[in-house]
């Protein structure tokens, strides 16, 4: 291979060149194997160390199951909210012109730059016992911090950019000619969106949803800070892993981490493969 490439370059394939190529490939493969693959392999081995039975017993604990269900519930609600509000945000940022639009566009990426712990702290400052909305919360009796609503808001915050950033370029590229044609033919605004715009955005939706879901499953810092991680009540799958490690329940911690990691991996890689195939 290298000989062919080098002769394409019009350079003689020297012995030095071949060795340089081998050494560089070797360094990169070794680096990635040690940094990325070895730890993942160790986790798989650690989870299976006591056999499938031990793994199953550890995961079949009521608290663990409820933690996984809570994670799935939060991720599902996050997706629904982002499909509606994320689409509205992308739509308004692309199609509408109003003062402050560019500033808002810049702010969209903020959750990626903010530490999840700080995101959780912000929500505590808003909804906590001494937070700004404390009187409102007392009046209505709806608990947000240290409860499911706060965990959902925290997850919404950290996943905000995915949907918007997937949809914006597609909306921009799609343009408005076809929508105009539809409305000229008498379609209403909602009909135009449903029958013309939405099909064009379909793939953007699918990627945005997948990435949002994967990130929501794995969120830890923000939900931990906002919920306190009470076992069996506000504990998510990631918090269970954290607690199990602390309590030296290694099989449970490793198995749950493996399940979480595999799930996210399949989602993200699946989206990536779909994306490449579509192009």
């Amino acid at each position: 291979m290298s000989v062919a490439l080098d002769s394409q370059l019009g350079r003689p394939a020297t012995r030095v060149g071949i060795w340089r190529r081998r050494i560089l490939i070797g360094i990169v493969v070794t680096y990635m194997a040690i940094l990325i693959l070895a730890p993942i392999g160790a986790l798989i081995q650690g989870a299976f160390a006591n056999g499938l039975g031990a793994m199953f017993t550890a995961l079949n604990d009521p608290d663990v199951l409820s933690a996984f269900w809570r994670t799935l519930l939060i991720a599902a609600i996050t997706i629904v909210v982002h499909v509606i509000c994320g689409t509205a945000v992308a739509w308004v940022l692309v199609r509408h012109r109003f003062p402050g639009r560019r500033l808002l566009n810049g702010l969209i990426d903020l959750p990626f730059a903010i530490s999840p712990v700080i995101a959780g702290l912000m929500l505590i400052l808003l909804f906590g016992r001494r937070g700004i909305f404390a009187p409102l919360i007392e009046a209505t009796g709806v608990q947000i911090a240290f409860a499911l609503p706060g965990m959902i808001i925290a997850t919404l915050f950290v996943t905000l950019p995915f949907m918007v950033r997937e949809l914006m370029p597609v909306l921009e590229a799609f343009g408005i000619e076809q929508e105009q044609a539809a409305s000229t033919l008498g379609a209403s605004g909602w009909q135009t969106f449903r029958l013309v715009t939405f099909p064009a955005l379909r793939w953007g939706f699918i990627y945005g949803l997948t990435l949002t879901f994967a990130r929501a499953l794995g969120e830890f810092g923000a939900v931990l800070v906002v919920s306190g991680g009470v076992q069996g009540r506000t504990e998510t799958a990631t918090m269970y892993v954290f607690r199990a490690l602390d309590e030296r329940q290694y099989t449970g911690a490793y198995s749950a981490a493996l399940v979480l990691g595999l799930f996210s991996l399949v989602l993200v890689m699946g989206a990536e493969i779909l994306r490449r195939r579509e192009r």
Binding site: M32, V89, G120, M122, G131, S183, G189, G228, S264
Partner: protein
């Protein structure tokens, strides 16, 4: 030309559509962004600055906080340097050489983005922790402590931030014309000279951007670090873990003050990267010349 027509189309579209539908969508979007982004940001800034800059200075000048911030900054810097070198090398190998398993290797680059960072932390503890053979060997034979120590933090950050440099350098390297390298080779330049004088200069901007982004990402990392480094004040406690501890202990004011410093660093870096980014419409290679 196209922008003028599309603006005109857009104006026509805005006139033709139902005004209340438009305002409805806009209201939903703006309310959502206000509640989700602006309000949280405003409240932490207000809370962090309630005692002015002096209050922030006092908070970060506590020995434990100072140590946590310093540990965060230096481990992130070491990570960024290693990541810059190894990321560029990886991008170079992936673009310039073809070898069996290359597509697989290219896929592995994205793994760190796909795996929850907490799980990353667990994988490293399994591999290097005191229970594992490798961890025990490193500690007993070589005296290297990885877990609950700065090396573990750096390794965790390297894992988490690996794709940043590779994925910013790779596309630019792909778009580079190889004519100049060939010309340099014809004129008798060695491989290293060609890389340094011809290939590297156009890669410098994306390389710096990717490195700064990985640094910014490292400042706020929590999930992987809290597992790998634990929470030992003045030894392995980073700023994010310190903020977490202060919130848990019921000191949101101290947590906010330290958060403000972390946010300022992260935002500053992101703005810098935005400034360094080549202007739209011009290929990066052209911009760098």
């Amino acid at each position: 030309m196209t922008t003028i027509t599309s603006t005109r189309y857009r104006a026509a579209r805005e006139r033709s559509s139902l005004p209340w539908g438009r305002w409805g969508v806009r209201t939903v979007a703006l309310t959502y962004l206000t509640v989700m982004l602006i309000l949280p940001l405003a409240v932490i800034i207000q809370y962090g600055f309630q005692d002015g800059l002096g209050g922030i200075w006092n908070a970060i000048n506590q020995p434990v906080a100072r140590h946590a911030l310093w540990l965060t900054l230096w481990t992130a810097a070491v990570m960024a340097l290693i990541n810059a070198v190894m990321g560029t090398l990886t991008a170079y190998v992936l673009v310039r050489y073809s070898f069996p398993g290359k597509a697989l290797l290219n896929g592995v680059v994205d793994l760190p983005f796909a795996i929850p960072t907490l799980v990353t932390g667990v994988t490293l503890v399994v591999l290097y922790g005191p229970q594992s053979a490798i961890g025990a060997w490193l500690e007993n034979e070589l005296g290297w402590r990885i877990i609950f120590a700065p090396p573990g933090i750096i390794i965790a950050l390297l894992f988490v931030a690996f794709p940043f440099v590779v994925r910013t350098v790779q596309p630019v390297l792909e778009s580079l014309d190889r004519d100049q390298e060939e010309a340099a080779a014809t004129l008798g330049a060695g491989a290293w000279t060609i890389f340094r004088r011809v290939t590297l200069p156009p890669l410098l901007m994306p390389l710096i951007s990717g490195t700064l982004l990985s640094f910014a990402r490292a400042i706020g990392e929590f999930g992987a670090i809290v597992i790998v480094a634990g929470n030992i004040p003045r030894r392995s406690q980073t700023a994010a873990v310190y903020v977490f501890g202060q919130v848990e202990a019921g000191y949101p004011d101290i947590a906010s003050a330290v958060s403000i410093v972390m946010l300022a660093i992260a935002f500053g870096l992101v703005l810098l990267v935005d400034y360094l980014q080549p202007r739209r419409g011009k290929p990066a290679a052209e911009e760098a010349q």
